[in-house]
């Protein structure tokens, strides 16, 4: 992977800045383009068979001051704007956050297998969802569906428990302690969940299908629910890009360089966890995205978090929207659970990326 040495420092500096800027923009545009493409595909494809031209015109017609007659019936319009578009937007938000959370955790823990599920988000949300399904009141008795709330509380509670356990062990000083505490907490909560499931085998299917992940949504409720969390989380994570880069030399050296490593760790983990818990509570446990998307970005655009974070967000969103199209089209009108499709198509894709990068470098 050797790069040839350049003649002088000044030239190198100038070239480097030019190359870095050019490279960054190039990748951002590509990723944004992929997202736009996936979104367009997502709104056009579906079992209802909406006319392509009609859909596009209708979307254009929503732009202020543009008056276009799309030719869609009211029920078609309702299907488009209450079911299909919200689903695509939700998919983009979920993919965006899962990838961002994964990239952030990998930065803080300097571990390529880290993602928010590592500290217990998955186990906690799974347990919360199981309890809601088994013991929760029927949805007709509540104005708000209790399932996302229980899942969210479970996810946050699990991470809080992980932190508490980590602190008693080592005053939470090192990242490794937290990871180990997370493994222990996740194992424990999963065991509890399995126990509850065994006692109530009648809801096994419902719990299982929730865990596999779904982007079904009626109206914009799901989007409205997660959007604030994803927005806040994204802002905090993007603000910490450079600090995550400094953390690459390890917490000790980063501390001697002037970084408050504990504060960065807590802030980044909190933001990533909050956003991930929110999307998981609505969409279930969609795995794979948080690890594979950031790694793909690293293989292609380098390991600096200044690029990995924003590109992971865009690519994660594009990936999940595209995967969702496949999930609802392949055995239409039935749907394959999205968690299955992400792994099924994502894994070979990643192997392909691995192979091409190896021959290039």
């Amino acid at each position: 992977m050797a790069v040839g040495a350049l003649p002088s420092a000044a030239t190198a500096r100038g070239t480097r800045r030019a190359r870095a800027a050019h490279g960054s923009t190039r990748w951002t545009i590509a990723a944004a383009g992929a997202l736009v493409g996936a979104v367009v595909l997502g709104v056009l494809v579906g079992p209802a068979g909406l006319p392509v031209r009609g859909v596009l015109l209708d979307i254009v017609g929503r732009v202020p001051f543009v008056h276009v007659h799309s030719g869609l019936t009211t029920s078609e319009q309702s299907l488009l704007w209450q079911i299909r578009v919200p689903r695509v937007v939700l998919g983009a938000l979920v993919g965006w956050m899962l990838a961002a959370g994964g990239a952030a955790y990998q930065g803080v823990f300097r571990n390529p297998l880290a993602d928010p599920y590592l500290l217990g988000v998955a186990a906690g949300a799974g347990l919360g969802a199981t309890i809601a399904i088994v013991y929760g009141p029927t949805t007709s008795g509540w104005t708000v569906d209790p399932l996302p709330l229980f899942a969210f509380v479970g996810a946050i509670g699990a991470v809080a428990l992980t932190y508490a356990v980590g602190r008693t062990a080592d005053r939470g000083r090192t990242a490794v302690t937290l990871v180990l505490a997370g493994v222990a907490v996740a194992a424990f909560l999963t065991a509890v969940q399995t126990y509850v499931q065994e006692r109530h085998t009648d809801v096994l299917r419902e719990v299982y299908s929730w865990i596999l992940g779904q982007l079904t949504t009626s109206g914009w409720h799901g989007v409205v629910l997660v959007l604030p969390y994803v927005a806040v989380s994204s802002v905090v994570l993007l603000a910490h890009r450079r600090l995550l880069d400094v953390l690459r030399v390890g917490e000790d050296e980063a501390a001697t360089l002037g970084v408050s490593t504990r504060r960065v760790r807590v802030t980044v983990v909190a933001a990533a966890t909050l956003g991930t818990a929110a999307v998981v509570s609505v969409s279930g446990l969609i795995g794979f995205v948080g690890i594979i998307v950031p790694h793909t970005v690293r293989l292609v655009a380098g390991a600096s978090y200044r690029r990995v974070l924003p590109l992971s967000m865009l690519l994660g969103a594009a990936f999940l929207v595209a995967v969702d199209v496949i999930a609802r089209s392949l055995s239409s009108p039935a749907e394959i659970p999205i968690g299955v499709v992400t792994a099924f198509f994502g894994a070979p894709f990643f192997v392909l990326v691995l192979r091409t990068r190896r021959t290039v470098s």
Binding site: A9, A12, L243, V246, V249, E253, S304
Partner: protein, 275 residues
């Protein structure tokens, strides 16, 4: 110019003390080198000053207690060159040295042109011109060590902590790096606290040496007083000869144990035929 003072420093790992109430001081602009056998506690003392280990006692720089400083402020007072730095293979050399400017970059901001210039300047001084875009993984051991030093110097801190700064360098680069540190001391009034295995180099460059063993200071003073055959023999268990150079500098020369000539050990090659 900053004086460093360590008072009553006891460093513990898992409640096992590795230094015992050590008192040490480095005068402003001075160079004190810690010497001593492996496991003596030299690195632990440096890490205590760098704020990386918990310790009893007080460490001050110019009278300011380091314990009260936040990491960012501390980084502007003390720069640490670790013995085994973590160097991400794909990180470019210039980006690595730029990490040294972290304490100057606003928390949520980016490096400025001044930061880049200072970082590039350190690369020049450490003979790494042209290496800016090279990934760290492609550098030799010596080049890497110079890159770490460049990063520490980019911090522009008045106190420099060097943990085995020349262990991977060839004799030419060893001299070059240590001469550079001397130069910087003269220019900027750098105060240096180092730990070195090479006794001759330590004696040549440091103003005074502190011999540490089992976490305690056994001897302290100028090279002539500390680098004696007796002390080295007693604390290192090594048989050495202390020699004076033309310029008055001291060289510590290891003495090989006497070989007993044993005729049975001589292999008579002439008698054997090729198989």
């Amino acid at each position: 110019m900053s004086a460093v003072s360590l008072t009553g420093i006891t460093v513990r790992y898992d409640s096992r003390p590795v230094t015992h109430v050590v008192d040490l001081s480095v005068p402003s602009g001075g160079w004190v080198c810690l010497i001593g056998p492996n496991g003596a506690g030299k690195s632990s003392l440096l890490k205590a000053v760098a704020g990386l280990v918990v310790h009893d006692g007080v460490i001050t720089v110019d009278g300011a207690d380091l314990h009260t400083l936040k990491p960012r402020a501390r980084a502007r007072h003390v720069a640490f060159v670790p013995q085994q730095p973590i160097m991400p293979e794909d990180l470019a050399v210039l980006d690595y040295v730029l990490l040294g400017r972290t304490a100057f970059v606003p928390t949520f901001g980016v490096e400025s042109a001044v930061d880049r210039e200072r970082a590039a300047w350190q690369l020049e001084r450490l003979d790494l011109r042209g290496f800016e875009l090279r990934p760290l993984g492609t550098l030799s051991g010596g080049e890497r060590q110079r890159a770490v030093l460049a990063r520490a110097l980019a911090q522009e801190a008045p106190v420099l902590l060097l943990d085995e700064p020349t262990s991977a360098l060839d004799i030419g680069h060893q001299q070059q790096v240590l001469e550079l540190v001397l130069e910087l001391r003269a220019e900027r009034g750098l105060t240096v606290l180092s730990a070195m295995h090479d006794l001759t180099l330590a004696g040549q460059y440091a103003d005074s040496l502190v011999l540490v063993r089992n976490g305690q200071v056994m001897a302290a003073g100028p090279a002539e007083a500390v680098l004696t055959e007796g002390l080295i023999g007693a604390h290192y268990g090594a048989d050495v000869q202390v020699v004076r150079g033309d310029d008055g500098s001291i060289a510590v020369v290891p003495r090989r144990a006497r070989q007993t000539t044993s005729s049975s050990r001589v292999i008579r090659i002439s008698d054997t035929d090729e198989p």
